[in-house]
């Protein structure tokens, strides 16, 4: 089995008047930089096996530690790269590894060099470098969005004098040495008394979290897992206004002001019936598109917080995809995958804006959508997104043979990394899109030239005897897991939030 590339990012710069294109590709714990013009790998980087115990402690969905202490120490593995992004000026790359580290690389002079690594309190789910090329915003599994300087400041633990960030560098430092939080006088209910007793007994109470030792600010937070964080700016009355748009597992899309006023929530784009997993801003317009656990995309006028329309991912599209997916899975390993049970459950796993020149030669773009595990992309010309409700939007299916994992644009070429696991299968496909005469139809051709240039990535040896399908699935496919298991609620259990002293005691009122 070979390891697919789970994240890719293009770097296109014109340093010293010379145009150059690079592709950064993450393959498990490896990060590879390819010079696209020379068609060769110029640097490799590996995440080291974490020596510290910073590997994500198993946390269940509720944000609590598991009920029973897990004694089994997970086998030490190098951390996988789970997010990859490039600064707008193309000078830095930021990678998130699944040991919760945000790692910054310089990519100048065709070299890839790790210059900092910062461990976040929770696993980051989304990262972006702001247009100032100096700030990283990073949303996490527990719903918080932090900003970090791209380049850590010289003296690491200067306490920040925050502007109006909600909390500054002293995050979590506000937990004083142990002192019971209440006295017997203030504790009046049986429940509170129990909680206090439990607290007193807890000798290891001081096992508190380390405050973050680097400059950071808490900008905003949801009480839900964040699935998308995007920075947007708009010109209003001649001035640029910055916004942070955040999406969560509880169907919300929130629009906050950008720093330094990120504590102000301007509004919400509400209407999703299932989790939101991807957000895509349409450049040059006030439109954004969101997708998640439904077979519809939502098109928003986000500054007005209103839904423009929905785009139905027709059953036809989705079903075709499913049968293809099954066919390819069967072809791959001869067995049916476990995804069969969730047949109708669409999970949007990617959305990108890509070049799609119009037939008459204009520079148009298309929205390209990936649905988790389906071996295809769906493409919609961006100029169709604003069509009024009731008017059908043309969706073109681009068959890939394998499920797409990530996408990057190099010039007009759309490079797609694929879940191609069998030794020798091509882990990349490059295509070019073009809008055809017929309104809204998109044609595509393979870009053999680009595929040749990326051949070095395909032959890059990543065979790993210990690699198994389950491990790969866990790394590559986690959007579907965001779905809530509805109807499992059991009111008898609602009070139960764990074995701790302050839960599970009946509310014995004394009146």
């Amino acid at each position: 089995m070979q390891h697919p590339y789970q994240c890719i990012a293009a770097i296109e710069s014109t340093a010293q008047g010379q145009a150059s294109s690079h592709l950064l590709a993450a393959c498990g714990h490896r990060l590879v930089l390819v010079d696209v013009n020379d068609s060769k790998i110029i640097t490799e980087w590996f995440s080291a096996i974490s020596t510290t115990n910073t590997a994500e402690a198993p946390e269940n969905d509720d944000g609590e530690r598991p009920k029973k202490k897990q004694k089994t120490v997970p086998p030490v593995k190098p951390a996988n790269i789970i997010k990859l992004t490039v600064s707008p000026d193309q000078a830095h790359a930021v990678a998130v590894t699944d040991d919760k580290y945000v790692r910054v690389f310089t990519i100048g002079n065709g070299k890839l060099e790790e210059i900092s690594q910062r461990c976040m309190p929770k696993r980051p789910c989304a990262v972006q470098v702001l247009p100032d090329n100096a700030t990283i915003i990073c949303g996490d599994k527990f719903g918080d969005v932090y900003s970090l300087p791209l380049l850590p400041t010289a003296s690491e633990d200067v306490p920040m004098v925050a502007d109006t960030a909600l909390e500054s560098a002293t995050l979590e430092a506000d937990e004083p040495a142990f002192k019971p939080s209440a006295t017997n006088l203030t504790v009046h209910t049986k429940r509170n008394r129990k909680a206090l007793e439990a607290q007193m007994q807890q000798k290891a109470f001081s096992a508190k979290k380390e405050p973050l030792k680097f400059d950071h600010k808490l900008l905003l937070g949801h009480v839900s897992m964040l699935t998308g964080v995007a920075y947007a700016s708009r010109n209003v009355d001649g001035r640029d206004r910055g916004y942070i748009i955040t999406a969560d597992r509880d169907e919300h899309i929130r629009i906050s002001r950008g720093p330094p006023q990120s504590h102000v929530i301007e509004g919400y784009c509400l209407g999703h019936k299932e989790f939101v997993s991807k957000l895509c801003l349409i450049p040059g317009t006030d439109l954004s598109v969101s997708g998640g656990g439904e077979n519809e995309l939502y098109v928003w006028d986000w500054p007005a917080f209103t839904l423009k329309r929905k785009i139905h991912l027709t059953d036809e599209v989705v079903n075709t995809g499913e049968s293809n997916a099954e066919a390819s899975r069967q072809a791959d390993d001869g067995t049916m995958s476990q995804a069969d049970s969730s047949k109708k459950d669409v999970a949007v796993s990617g959305m990108w804006i890509v070049p799609c020149p119009a037939a008459h030669g204009g520079t148009e773009t298309a929205l390209v959508v990936a649905i988790e595990r389906l071996p295809m992309l769906l493409a919609i010309p961006v100029n169709q997104l604003g069509l009024p409700r009731g008017q059908d939007v043309n969706i073109t299916t681009i068959d890939l043979g394998h499920a797409p994992l990530d996408l990057a644009c190099i010039g007009d070429s759309v490079v797609v990394s694929l879940d191609a696991r069998e030794e020798g299968q091509s882990r990349f496909q490059a295509i070019k899109l073009q809008e055809v005469q017929e309104q809204g139809m998109i044609g595509n051709v393979r870009d053999g030239e680009m595929e040749k240039r990326l051949a070095c990535l395909n032959s890059y040896p990543t065979a790993d005897a210990s690699l198994d399908g389950k491990t790969l699935d866990d790394l590559l496919y986690n959007v579907g897991n965001l779905r809530k298991r509805r109807g499992w609620g059991d009111s008898a259990k609602e009070g139960d939030d764990g074995p701790d002293g302050d839960a599970g005691v009946d509310d014995v009122a004394e009146d």
């Binding site: 530690r65 206004r241 006023q261 102000v264 059991d490 009111s491 599970g504 009122a509």
Partner: protein, 275 residues
């Protein structure tokens, strides 16, 4: 498993619709985990909420056009409208002592309790019905109701920007342990959500007998640029503060135990101009 079913049965045996409910049939474990999914029902957006179910006396003849900007789907055109919006929210209202004390004091204002525990919510709903029945002549208590909600996640599903004039956070669960602080109903990030649903000039009222939690709430609202602390003199002139001290279930228990009650109130400020 037999527990809740049996309880529900007993409840039904013991009273008829519209009769005063008895608390003992509605007890429920004290804590619900605010991070878990539960089996909550909530509107996808405020326009999708049918408030007429909760405030039938305020229902208006349908004449609302579907151009409501917040009606994102045009799916909610058939929802019964009411003549005014909820203006006061009691978050984590428990058995509703405060709600039923406030309702007759401000009969023209819609007051809503939000509670995460199912049976406790049902109790408050039943009690509201019973009180409406008993006060048919005066029309009192038509303005109070309760919904089951996890307010830490879903406040913006129920309320629009700037809708609420008052929010009460009375005797919130203390979550003593540091590891559980994230479960507290007050944090700086949640304060942004409270600010969002509040009208500038409106107040957030907090009360607790746990000093540690009191300091926590004061500190977190104070650190938030959308709020300013209301002076002690002003508190003493505010009738709501007195009601909150004496009419909440928890307030009464603390009274009996001669405990201390810590009150802090914060005013929602106008948003600053864009930089």
């Amino acid at each position: 498993m037999a527990g809740p079913a049996k309880k529900r049965q007993k409840r039904e045996d013991n009273r008829q619709e519209g009769q005063m409910p008895q608390k003992k049939f509605y007890r429920q474990r004290a804590h619900a985990n605010p991070f878990s999914d539960h089996d909550l029902t909530y509107p996808s957006c405020p326009a999708a909420m049918d408030w007429s179910q909760h405030f039938p006396a305020f229902t208006v003849a349908k004449a609302v056009s579907s151009t409501d900007a917040l009606d994102n789907d045009h799916e909610h055109e058939n929802i019964q409208q009411i003549s005014q919006q909820v203006a006061v929210a009691d978050i984590g209202c428990g058995f509703g002592g405060l709600l039923f004390a406030l309702a007759p004091k401000m009969p023209k204002t819609l007051i809503l309790g939000l509670e995460i525990r199912t049976s406790v919510t049902e109790f408050v709903q039943e009690k509201a019905k019973a009180l409406r029945n008993q006060n048919g002549d005066s029309g009192l208590y038509q303005n109070v109701s309760c919904i089951r909600a996890n307010t830490m996640k879903f406040l913006p599903n129920f309320f629009t920007k700037g809708q609420l004039e008052k929010i009460f956070l009375c005797f919130p669960d203390p979550h003593f342990k540091a590891r559980k602080h994230k479960a507290r109903i007050v944090s700086t990030t949640l304060a942004s959500e409270y600010a969002y649903v509040m009208k500038p000039g409106g107040n957030v009222y907090t009360i607790t007998d746990v000093e540690d939690l009191h300091l926590w709430m004061a500190e977190h609202f104070e650190a938030h640029p959308s709020f300013e602390r209301v002076s002690d003199e002003e508190l003493e002139r505010d009738e709501c503060v007195q009601t909150m001290r004496t009419e909440t279930e928890e307030g009464k228990k603390v009274e009996r135990n001669n405990g201390t009650k810590y009150v802090v109130v914060f005013r929602r400020l106008e948003d600053p101009p864009w930089p």
